[in-house]
């Protein structure tokens, strides 16, 4: 189903709804889209008479009478002094004649959601916040005017735009912005304005590409974040947005997140756009990988008008691509096994799921980690975790005897017991002379983690897996998003098992993040939706042994436990890295987290090998590098081997799938 393009315009008066919609169509697509696009029009709630049809998109900010000289125009806009101007602009926005009454606190505070009345003022904090933003916009506008139109040295007229014109353009923008922003947040018109967008979305049964501008970006954000039943939004475009301005961030729907239904968010602005004083959103809204900031040129007088934004090639390309991709998309299917479009190259990397298919998304080569709601631990400078080894354990490792375990040999078929572990696993797993240990090679270097309530340990989860035949298994997973864990393919889909009735999707996985024995600092969740790829499910090929667990909702504690990043690293870089693994081995006290690190042993295009001690139960654990304080997954631990252990490498194909699975 082709997407409907829905526009949300910004501040200031506008031409009539249909005219404005066609102007946006023309600027973005070069033609009238007809019913394939809609304008969520709200200017009539603020301005009784629309601008004439001939007005270009973006006009309507300057309400001064025509015929004024530029200097007169500037004077009419407000006081020359920036501080005075900002104060007066805020006062005017709230219906006051001057700012003095505001300063004196004579007026009653207004309330959000209540109609604003002339003579009322927002409470002191709100006014101060608006004034702070107004000052910053004003100073920025003045600085731009000075930079773009310097005073001529000899007084001759400077063409084409002397400073007063430039200054007037910016200051008109400041005033218009404050008026509509005040009306939206504090003047009681927010609900009515948002309703216009809700009505525009109602009745759309397919995906929606949302293109928004200025205050329209705030409206769209609030609606998408606060309403259930929104359509899928494969692309949200915000242009000249104030969503990065901290005064605005405080008043939109919290916490600051990419809306759930929004697969990609493109935020574009001109760095000279004073409405978008903070031009980047990725640093504030999570998850950052679904959000892309872009700086584009907007050569309108105030660098904020919509026309140049819509005509920017970057914006047009993104909107066109989203429209075309959606058009080519097969309808979503419910079913036991659904299959999405095969990535180019390797058909065995085609993802499959027992849940509902989601579209793949464009990506970079790295998805950044997020700390979440928990405190983060500082890593060491050498690319490993700062984990103190208990003195007694350190001594045991240092003195681990090279003696072998009792040779039970063939007699063990009968179940002959061996000696109990002397005291610590470190001794027990010392290399056996009769053959190398499978997953612990030489002395056991694993260190027990106890402060699992802190990141990154909070983002590692103990898994209790129930297979199709009812058998139960232990594994490990790691968060790559609020609801998504990466793990081994064989933790979510069992293949090649000789046991009757076991092969296929596992029935359920209980996910226990940051588990420490019987302590569950973040509660648990039970998942029944999983992903893997055909190479694993159909071929049982260990080169494709990876999968994902999709949680049905937030953890029982509601905590965001943070997530690991993940990245594709080139061979030469990966080969020289120190790798880290943390997981829940079955030979240790139940549900305890253990960590070890070592340099990469070798890499292939699909596997990473390492001499890091692991044990059964650690399948699915993160194999990660540390860059600064960022934990970046590079492989999924999956196999123990006679000489080295190994994981499925995050190659480009794996990255693409994992990023698409991430929720």
């Amino acid at each position: 189903m082709p997407p409907v393009v829905v526009y949300v315009h910004g501040i200031g008066n506008k031409p009539a709804q249909d005219t404005l919609k066609k102007q946006w169509d023309q600027a973005l697509f070069g033609r009238d889209l007809g019913p394939a696009s809609r304008m969520a029009y709200w200017a009539d709630l603020r301005y009784p008479t629309p601008l004439p049809e001939a007005a270009e998109a973006g006009e309507g900010l300057d309400e001064l009478p025509p015929g004024l000289s530029e200097t007169e125009r500037l004077e009419a806009i407000g006081p020359q002094d920036p501080e005075e101007f900002a104060r007066a602009a805020v006062a005017e926005a709230v219906g006051q004649e001057t700012a003095e009454a505001d300063d004196a606190g004579a007026a009653k505070p207004g309330k959000p959601g209540k109609p604003g009345k002339a003579g009322e003022a927002p409470e002191a904090g709100r006014a101060a916040k608006l004034e702070s933003w107004a000052r910053r916009m004003t100073y920025a506008g003045d600085a731009l005017a000075a930079g773009e139109s310097p005073e001529p040295p000899s007084g001759e007229e400077l063409l084409p735009l002397p400073r007063p014109i430039r200054q007037a353009a910016f200051r008109a923008l400041v005033k218009a912005t404050l008026k509509d922003v005040y009306a939206y947040f504090f003047g009681g018109q927010g609900d009515a304005i948002r309703l216009r967008l809700r009505k525009a979305l109602d009745g759309i049964h397919g995906p929606v590409v949302l293109v928004t501008h200025s205050l329209g970006t705030v409206i769209a954000y609030d609606v998408l974040r606060s309403r259930n039943g929104n359509p899928e939004v494969p692309l949200l475009v915000t242009l000249g947005s104030p969503l990065g301005v901290h005064e605005i961030e405080d008043d939109v729907v919290q916490p600051l997140r990419v809306p759930d239904q929004t697969r990609r968010w493109l935020n574009a602005c001109d760095s000279r756009d004073i409405v978008a004083l903070d031009p980047t959103l990725r640093d504030d809204y999570r998850p950052a990988d679904r959000l892309r900031d872009a700086i584009v040129a907007n050569d309108s007088d105030n660098h904020h008008d919509i026309g140049p934004y819509l005509r920017a090639s970057l914006v047009r390309r993104a909107v066109h691509a989203a429209s075309e991709q959606e058009e080519a998309t097969q309808p979503h299917k419910e079913g036991e096994d659904t299959m999405s479009t095969s990535p180019p190259g390797d058909p065995l990397q085609t993802p499959i799921t027992n849940g509902v298919e989601r579209e793949t998304i464009e990506n970079s080569r790295i998805v950044e980690p997020e700390v979440g709601d928990v405190a983060a631990l500082e890593p060491s400078d050498d690319g490993t975790e700062e984990v103190p080894r208990p003195p007694e354990e350190a001594a045991m490792v240092a003195t681990a005897p090279a003696t072998e375990l009792p040779d039970i040999g063939l007699a063990s078929f009968g179940g002959a017991p061996i000696e109990p572990t002397p005291s610590k696993g470190a001794v027990f797993f010392t290399a056996h002379a009769a053959g190398p240990m499978e997953t612990v090679h030489g002395p056991d270097n694993r260190v027990k983690i106890t402060d699992t309530q802190h990141y990154p340990w909070s983002a590692v989860a103990s898994l209790l897996i129930t297979a199709r035949d009812g058998s139960q298994w232990l594994g490990t997973g790691w968060f790559i998003g609020p609801r998504t864990l990466l793990t081994a393919g064989h933790c979510v889909y069992i293949t090649n098992s000789p046991i009757s009735g076991r092969n296929g999707w596992v029935l359920s996985i209980q996910v226990l993040p940051g588990r420490n024995g019987t302590a569950l600092p973040f509660g648990s969740a039970t998942a029944t939706t999983f992903w893997t790829v055909r190479g694993w499910a159909e071929q049982g090929d260990e080169n494709y042994d990876y999968g994902a667990i999709i949680l049905p909702g937030p953890l029982s504690t509601g905590t965001d436990v943070g997530s690991f990043g993940f990245a594709v690293l080139p061979d030469d870089e990966l080969s020289t890295h120190v790798l880290n693994i943390a997981g829940y081995p079955g030979d240790k006290p139940p549900g305890t987290l253990w960590y070890d690190s070592h340099k990469t042993a070798s890499v292939t295009s699909s596997k990473v090998f390492y001499d890091i001690d692991t044990m059964g139960g650690q399948s699915g654990a993160p194999v990660y590098v540390i860059e600064g304080d960022r934990r970046i997954g590079v492989a999924v631990h999956a196999y123990g081997g006679p000489t080295t252990n190994s994981g499925t490498r995050i190659s480009s194909a794996v990255f693409e799938n994992v990023q698409a699975w991430r929720q």
Partner: protein, 90 residues
């Protein structure tokens, strides 16, 4: 690399009195080839089933619910018994 047909390694964990031990954690601690790094829990009858990928010598590690450990060595191949019994705390 495609994993070939797996060899089942089926066993039962018993306590010193010969009673089945439920909830024991069983895994390979040595293997002749790469093995999935999972651990299986014994069922109510103490049974478990792991899958070895290639023929050769394997070591099975068991951790009992009470923290007791045991290991046995098995040779996966034609002579592998139908059930390997492992006694905990014997």
């Amino acid at each position: 690399m495609t994993s070939g047909p797996a060899h089942p390694v089926v066993g039962r964990v018993l306590d010193a009195q010969g009673d089945p031990v439920s909830g024991a954690v069983v895994m390979f601690s040595e293997a002749a080839g790469p093995v999935q790094d999972v651990a299986v829990l014994t069922g109510p009858d103490g049974t478990f089933a792991l899958a070895a990928t290639v023929a050769g010598r394997y070591r099975i590690h068991v951790r009992g619910p009470g923290g007791e450990h045991a290991e046995v060595e098995v040779y996966v191949g034609a002579d592998l018994p139908e059930e390997t019994r492992i006694i905990l705390g014997g």
